[in-house]
């Protein structure tokens, strides 16, 4: 990690918590956890409250589908850490074949029509936010996506366009497959909020 002091300055209760994670998992906590607990009021707490609500709160999109969106955006942003982390959750929920198919070409991947419309919006919003017009939203509506469903898609995109940049700027270590799978299990079981 490029800012090593972020790994040393946690409140006492968080030091204990991260130590317990290290003991339970048998490996150091992921760099994302170190960042989220560093001055947690500044970023970690409000960020994870937003993430938890969007990725685990009520939605017309399943948890697996929202994680697939997260993986897709992270892959577009070339963030290996986030694409691997959330891809492991998709592997565990929707299956690794779907993850691979979407990352290869979402247009030909076996997606239901509303989800395909969501990916069209996600792609433009991630890569060319200035080019997003009402047509992409209306296309989603035509496939049965509600306005709240489109809002959820927009929030997933915003979340990962934020955290992908932090992960790459700070240079999070990339876990091996077993590490990603272990983190995926915890994120499915416990969600994202740290407070």
């Amino acid at each position: 990690m490029r800012l090593p002091s972020l790994s040393r300055s946690w409140r006492f209760s968080d030091r204990v918590k991260l130590k317990m994670i290290r003991i339970a998992s048998g490996r150091p906590p992921a760099d994302i956890l170190k960042i989220l607990h560093y001055r947690r009021e500044f970023f970690g707490e409000p960020f994870t409250a937003w993430v938890h609500q969007v990725l685990r709160g009520p939605s017309e999109w399943s948890i697996g589908e929202r994680e697939l969106m997260a993986t897709f955006v992270s892959n577009l942003n070339e963030c290996r850490f986030c694409a691997g982390s959330h891809g492991a959750i998709v592997d565990a929920t929707l299956g690794p074949e779907l993850t691979a198919a979407v990352l290869a070409d979402w247009r030909t991947a076996p997606l239901r029509a509303p989800l395909r419309a969501a990916f069209a919006l996600l792609e433009t919003l991630t890569l060319q936010p200035g080019e997003v017009g009402p047509e992409l939203v209306e296309a989603a509506y035509e496939h049965g996506v509600t306005e709240q469903g489109v809002r959820d898609v927009v929030h997933v995109c915003a979340i990962f366009c934020t955290i992908n940049r932090i992960a790459d700027a700070v240079d999070f270590a990339i876990p091996d497959d077993k590490g990603f799978q272990g983190d995926a299990y915890q994120l499915l079981k416990r969600g994202y909020a740290i407070s």
Binding site: R2, L3, S5, L6, Y38, R39, E41, F42, F43, E45, P46, W50, Q53, V54, G57, E60, S62, G64, E65, N77, E78, C79, A92, T93, L94, R112, A113, P114, L125, T126, P129, G130, V132, P134, L136, V137, E138, Y141, E142, H143, G144, E147, V150, R151, V154, C157, A158, I159, C161, T162, N164, R165, I166, D168, A169, V170, D171, Y185, L188, K189
Partner: protein, 141 residues
């Protein structure tokens, strides 16, 4: 710009409200860099960004995967602390996220305006019959 809290002023669990809380904490909350600087980098006002920060902000905003050890080391060398670099990094990233949020919500608002002013086209009947998404193995555990 589309209001970040359009219809949810009384719902502090709405994603728009939660984003507003995050934005306030990152850009206006206590920090080791002045709030004004965090706002400037979040909105990528490169003309107002100091010379040594400009390249870092631009890389972060447009292609963060290309950021390098040297870029961070250079900032530390000229006197920014790790805590300050962290704050600025988060602020730039949040600005990139907000850019997508604003663009997406604006597109929703424009679609609403068009719906209100143009003839309504019927939603295909099958749209209402799309299956509810699958249940995850772990989520059920």
């Amino acid at each position: 710009m589309v209001p970040l809290v359009p219809d949810t002023d009384n719902d502090d669990t709405a994603p728009e409200s939660l984003f507003a809380v995050l934005r306030h904490a990152v850009l206006d909350g206590p920090g080791s860099t002045p709030s004004r600087v965090r706002h400037v980098v979040a909105h990528a006002k490169l003309d107002e960004v100091s010379h040594e920060l400009r390249g870092y902000v631009d890389t972060m905003r447009e292609h963060a995967w290309r950021s390098t050890d040297e870029q961070v080391r250079d900032l530390l060398t000229v006197g920014w602390s790790e805590d300050q670099v962290f704050e600025l990094t988060v602020a730039v990233a949040l600005g990139a996220g907000q850019r997508r949020l604003d663009a997406g919500l604006a597109a929703i608002a424009r679609a609403q305006t068009r719906q209100a002013t143009e003839p309504v086209t019927a939603v295909p009947a099958q749209a209402a019959a799309w299956p509810v998404a699958e249940v995850t193995r772990h989520a059920a555990a």
